[in-house]
Symmetry: D2
Subunit: 367 residues, 4 copies
C-alpha cells in the first residue's frame, strides 16, 4: 500500500493541495481512546504558518471527523478525518505547469504519473498534507500519555544558529517545548533563528536546519532485530515528511570518529532499573529500545520555494528555461515540521506498542 | 512480518550465530535471472574479515541454495539460501550470559524474548546474519546490471581519516571500488584508515566511520510521495544493518545551514535528457527518483565489542558488574559493512523496479 | 492493516451507518484511468434497495470524490470517496442497544470494542458500507474493460428458486445481467425469486441464496502458487461482504463425489490458444489463472434482520431476553450483493494485474 | 510477499519437489513455546501416504530445525525448518515436460515463469510442500493448546461416502479424530471410504471429498469487520492448500434456501456465558468470533494425477497431444489433507491471537 504506514495502527493519507479536501484514515487504534478536539486544534496551530515567518495562506484547518469516534472516544474502527481546501488560488500555478521547480517534485511526479497528476500547488506532494497527520498525531500522543510516554522536538539548528541539545533526561525540556509555537530551549537563540529566517525571507531565499526529538517512557524491548528495527521504522516514517534529508540516532554522525570505548554506553543500575551512563546509542540497542530516552535528529533542507530566478527546464518541450516563483511560500518550514515529526513518531509508537501488547493497550478497555 | 523486507521482491532472514545455520529466503525475483556462484563468492569474500583487520573466526561461508534456482537461473519461486555454522565456540559466551555487553543487544533481547533467546555469540542479532543478505545481494546486483543499474559504496571516513567523496558522475568510481576488498578511492587514505584500525585493535578498542553509496542508472519516477518515499525505503533497509546510526541523502546534514538558493538543484537539459546542475537532493525529489545518481551516506558506529574492561549490569540479578570480553571481535566493521549496504540497497531496488514495471522486469522472460 | 485490502491497488474502508459519512480510499490505481460519474451512479443504483424488495431507507448516495481525480481521470495518488449519511433514525436502535440481534455483529462487536463501538444501525458493520466499495468497483471495472476483461454475477439461486448457470462461454450472459437491476438469466425464474422474497417479507422473514460470478478475458499466469493463490485472494475479498458464508470455484462442492477422470479439465488447442474442454477448475490451476473463465459461486445467508420475535440475551446484564426488530430491513440482499461481489472482485483483479504488469498497466499512460 | 502468510505470526514457504530441500520459516511466534519433536513427527506421519492408500514415494520426512529453537523452546526469532529431498526420480518427468497434466499447474506455471520453473514433480506446486506447513502447524497447535484452544478435521465425505458431522459440541469428536491416521468419526464409513479409494486406484482413477473442521475454545472478539474477517483469513489460508476448491462456514451452502428465522442463531445464556442455540453461522458473526465453535467445510477435488490416458496439449509447440502418467500418485489426498487444513488454521489462529493479545500471548513468558 503506497500511501499508508503502520501495521496494527495504520495511517492512510489522501488529498491534493488544491483539490476538494485532504485527509487521512487512522485504523487500529484501541477503542476507548479520548479524542480531544482542543488538543487537535492546538497541534494544528503549531503546524500553521505564523506571523512574519509563514506563508500568506491562512486557513482555519477545520477538521471534520467522519467516522471512528463516538461520544468523544475512538470506536476501534477506522477514523477518517478530512480538512476541506478553501483558499486555493490555482491559476497561479497553471502558467508554469511544465516548468520543474528546482528542489520540488514537479518533474518526478510527471515521470511517475505521466501528466495525470494534479499539479496545482504541489498536488499530493504539498506540505499541506501534513495537517491531517498532525491531527491524527494529536490523538496518538494523547494515547501515549495515558501510558506515561511523552515526546517532543526542538529546533537544534536553524538558519545557521544552533542551540543546546535536550538534557540527558529530556522530560522537562519536552514539556517546555511542547507549549511553544517556535520550539526552542533557549529563547535568545530562537530570536536569532527568527531573525535568520526573516533575513532569508527579505532576500527571497529560505533556510533549513536540524530538529532534535526525544521520546521518554518507552518500555525496553520494543522493535525488531533486523528489518523492523526501531531505527528502521522511525526513519521510514520521518523520511516521509517533505524536506527531510537525513536522520541520526543518538550520537549519530557526530561520533563516527570516536573509539568504541567512548561510544559504548555502559550499563548501570539506577534506582532499581537498568540504565546507561551515556546515551550515544539513542535508547536503542540492536534495533530494540533499552528503556533510555530515544533521541534522534532530523535534517530538514531549506524550503525549495524561493523567489529568486532559477534555471530549470520545461519537461514537456524538453527545453531550458528560467523560473521565478510567485505565490506564497515559507522561508522556513523547520518550526512547523517539528510537530509533524512528533506526530509521525507518535503514530508509529502506537503501532509498535499495540503490536507488542495487543490491541487494547490504549483506551479504557485496556487491561 | 518481523524479519522480512520488501513487497514484490522480499527477503526473510533467519538464523543465530551459534545455531545450526543461518540463511534467508528471497521471494519474487523475476524468473530467468542468472545466479552466478562466483559473484556470490566474490561478494561474500568482501564481507569476510581479512588479515589483521578482521576477527579470528574464519569460515568458508559455503552457501547452499536449497530452492528457487534451476539450471543456474532463478525459477521465480522462493530461493532459500543456507550457510551452515561450523566454527562455533559457544562456551566462551556462557559465563557472561546475563552481563549486558555495552552497545550490544543482550539486554534488549532479554527484555523482548524473556531469556528464551539464543544468546550465544549475539544469536539472531549477530552481524554474521549479514552473510546471507550479501549472497542474495549479489544476485540482485547482477539483475540490476542487466538493466544498466550499478551501485557501490566506499569508506568516506574511517577511524578519523576522510577521503574524497564520489565524483559527480560516480560511474567510474563505483567500478573501481567494487573491485576492492578495502573500498577506498584514495589508496593512501585507505592505508591511513587501516593504520587507524590497527592502532585501535592494538589498544583493545574499535573505530567506526561513514560509508558513501551511489546508485547510477535508475529511471526517473521510482518511489512514492509519502510513506514509501525512496528515502523512507532505503533508510528502512539500511538501518537494519547492525551498527548503523545515521543516514543522509545528497547533501544531508552538511548543507542544513545553506540557503535554499544554494541547496536547490537547478534543472538543465543535458544530452537530450533532464538533469540537474548540482545533486544536493541526492537524486530524489519529493521521494521519487529524478534520474540523477542516488547518493547517500551511512554512519556506522565503532564496533561495540572491545577488549577494555567496561561497566555493566547483570540484568537478571540486577546488580552492577564489570565485563572484559574475550573471544574474537572486529576492531572495525566499516570495510565489511559496505557490501552489506550495497546488498540491502540492491534488493530494495529490485523490489521497487518490479513493483513499477512488473514481475518480469528482470530475467530473460522480461520484455 | 485491518480495514484495507490489496497491495499494489488497495482499498481502505471507513464509516458507520449513522455517523457523519462513509467512504473509502483507493490507492495505487494507474494514473489516467477515466472516472465516469455515470458508471458510478449506475453501479450504486444496482446496489440500492428497489421497490417492494428493499428497505425503506432511501438515500440518493451522492458520492463526493475528495481527491485522486483531476479532469475526469485518476491521478495515480489516493482517491478518497465519501458518501454522507443523511437519513439516519438513530433512536430506533438505542433502546435495544445491549440486546444482541441474532445473526448480527452486536455481541461480537461488543466483545471486540468493549462498548465503545458506534452501535447505531450496525455501525461500521452495516451493509451500507458496501456503497463506497461499489463506487470504487465501478472505476475498477471500467479500467478492466480497457484491457478486455469483463465480469458479472447473477442470482443462481434465491429463496429456493434456481436458474441456469452461466454458459460455458459466459461473455453474452455477463453482458446481459450487467444491465439488470435484478440479475437473472431467466426472467421467469427471476419473477419467482421476487415472489419468494415478497412472501418472506410479508411473513416478517428473509431469504438467502447463491450468486454465480464469471470473469472473462484474464491472461493466463495470474496468481501465486500458495498463499496468494487466485482462490485465496478472491475468497479473502468475497468473505468480507456481509452475509457471505461460502465460496466455491469451478465445480466446487458439486463435484466432490466425481472421479478425477471426470473432474480434470483436458487441455486442447482452440483457435490457436490453449483452452480446456471443461472448466471444473474454474479457470484456475495450482492457484494461477489458465486463461479460461474464472467462475465462482458465493453462498449468501438469509438477511439476519427479520421482524419475528427472537430469543436473545442482554450481553451487558447477561440475562436472557427476547427481541422484536422494528426499523427498516431488507427481506433479501442477494440481488443487491451481486454488484458488491463484482466490485470486490474487480478491485482485486486490478491489484493483481498491476502487480504482474506494473503500475502503468491501466490508464492512458500505460504501454 | 508472495509465498508468505500471516502478520504477527507468519509463514514463508520454499522448495521444490525434486530440488535440494523444502522448508518454511515461521516468524513471530512467542518466545518460550515448547517445540516437541514427537508432536512434529506425529503430525508428519498423519500427512504421509499410508499403505495401499498412498503414493509409492516414501521418505522419512526428517525435519531439520536450523534456527529459532534453543533448548527445546522457541526463541521468538525466526524458526527455519528444512526437509531434505532424497527419493527423487526426476527423469520420469522430463519426457513429458511440455505436456500439461490436466488439473495440474504445469501450463499455468509455464505462463507465469516462462519455462524457468523447476517443473520436476510439480516443482514448487507439489503437495510435498505441505510437509513443512504440517511441521510448523504441530508447533502452533501445541501453543494453542496451552491456551485451551483445540481443533481437528475429519472426512465428512470421501469417494461418495458421507459420515456424520461433528457434534454440536465437537470437543470429544476432535479428540477422537486427532488420534487417527484416517480421520473419521464412524469407522464403518471410514472403511467404505477406503474401499472407494482402493476401487478408484485399481481403476487408475482418483477421488475427492469434503473435510469438516472445528475449532473450540476461541475467545469471542477475534477477527475484523471487513477485509480481515475470520472467514476471509481462514479461507485465504485454506485455499492455499492444493486441491481445495470450496469452503463454507457454519451451515454454508446447505442453508441458502432456509428462511432467516431458521438460519439466525438465537443467543442464550448458558452456564453464565453467552452462547447460541444453533450454530449456523459457524461461530462467526460479522466476521468476528462469538465464542461458539468455529466450524467450516473444505471441498477437495479428486487428485488430478490419474493413470488413464488424457487429452492435453504441448504448450510449447502448441499442438494437441495425449498423456498417460507414470510415476507415483495418490488416488486420494483427502485423508492426508486434513492435517494440512488443521495446520494452516492453527498457524493463522496464532497470528490472530498474538495480534489481539500481544506477542507474549503464548509461551512461558506470557502474562
Amino acid at each position: 500500500m503506497k500511501n499508508s504506514f503502520g501495521t496494527q495502527v495504520s495511517v492512510t493519507l489522501f488529498g491534493e493541495s488544491h483539490g476538494e479536501a485532504i485527509g487521512a484514515v487512522l485504523d487500529g487504534l484501541s477503542p476507548g481512546v479520548a479524542v480531544d478536539r482542543e488538543k487537535i486544534a492546538f497541534a494544528l496551530d503549531l503546524r500553521r504558518p505564523v506571523g512574519a515567518l509563514g506563508t500568506a495562506r491562512h486557513e482555519p484547518d477545520e477538521v471534520s471527523i467522519l467516522s471512528g469516534v463516538y461520544e468523544g472516544k475512538t470506536t476501534g474502527t477506522p477514523l477518517c478525518l478530512v480538512i476541506a481546501n478553501r483558499d486555493t488560488k490555482s491559476r497561479a500555478y497553471e502558467k508554469t505547469r511544465y516548468l520543474a521547480r528546482p528542489g520540488h517534485a514537479d518533474y518526478t511526479a510527471y515521470m511517475k504519473y505521466h501528466g495525470f497528476e494534479d499539479f496545482r500547488g504541489g498536488g499530493h506532494f504539498s506540505g499541506r498534507l501534513t495537517a491531517p497527520l498532525v491531527a491524527l498525531g494529536a490523538i496518538a500522543r494523547a494515547a501515549l500519555e495515558t501510558r506515561g510516554i511523552v515526546l517532543g522536538s526542538h529546533l537544534l539548528r536553524c538558519g545557521g544558529i544552533a542551540e543546546r541539545p535536550f538534557a540527558d533526561d529530556p522530560t522537562a525540556d519536552i514539556a517546555a517545548v511542547n507549549q511553544k509555537a517556535f520550539a526552542v530551549l533557549e529563547e535568545e537563540k530562537g530570536e536569532a533563528m527568527k531573525a535568520a529566517i526573516a533575513a532569508a525571507a527579505s532576500d527571497g531565499d529560505s533556510v533549513g536546519g536540524v530538529l532534535e526529538t526525544a521520546i521518554v517512557g518507552l518500555p525496553a524491548g520494543l522493535g525488531e532485530p533486523w528489518f523492523d528495527s526501531m531505527e528502521s521504522l522511525l526513519s521510514h516514517g520521518i523520511f516521509s515528511i517533505p524536506g527531510v534529508k537525513g536522520i541520526e540516532f543518538g550520537a549519530g554522525f557526530d561520533l563516527v570518529d570516536a573509539m568504541g570505548s567512548a561510544f559504548n554506553d555502559p550499563f548501570v543500575m539506577a534506582e532499581g532499573r537498568v540504565a546507561t551512563l551515556t546515551n550515544h546509542n539513542g535508547g536503542i540497542n540492536g534495533g530494540i529500545t533499552n528503556g533510555m530516552p530515544v533521541v534522534f535528529r532530523t535534517a530538514v533542507k531549506p524550503t525549495p520555494s524561493i523567489y529568486k530566478e532559477q534555471k530549470t527546464v520545461n519537461f514537456v518541450t524538453r527545453e531550458n528555461a528560467s523560473l521565478t516563483l510567485s505565490g506564497r511560500h515559507d522561508p522556513a518550514i523547520l518550526h512547523r515540521a517539528r510537530i509533524v515529526v512528533d506526530s509521525v513518531a507518535a503514530l508509529l509508537l502506537c503501532d509498535l506498542l499495540e503490536g507488542r501488547y495487543g490491541t487494547d493497550y490504549f483506551g479504557e478497555g485496556g487491561a
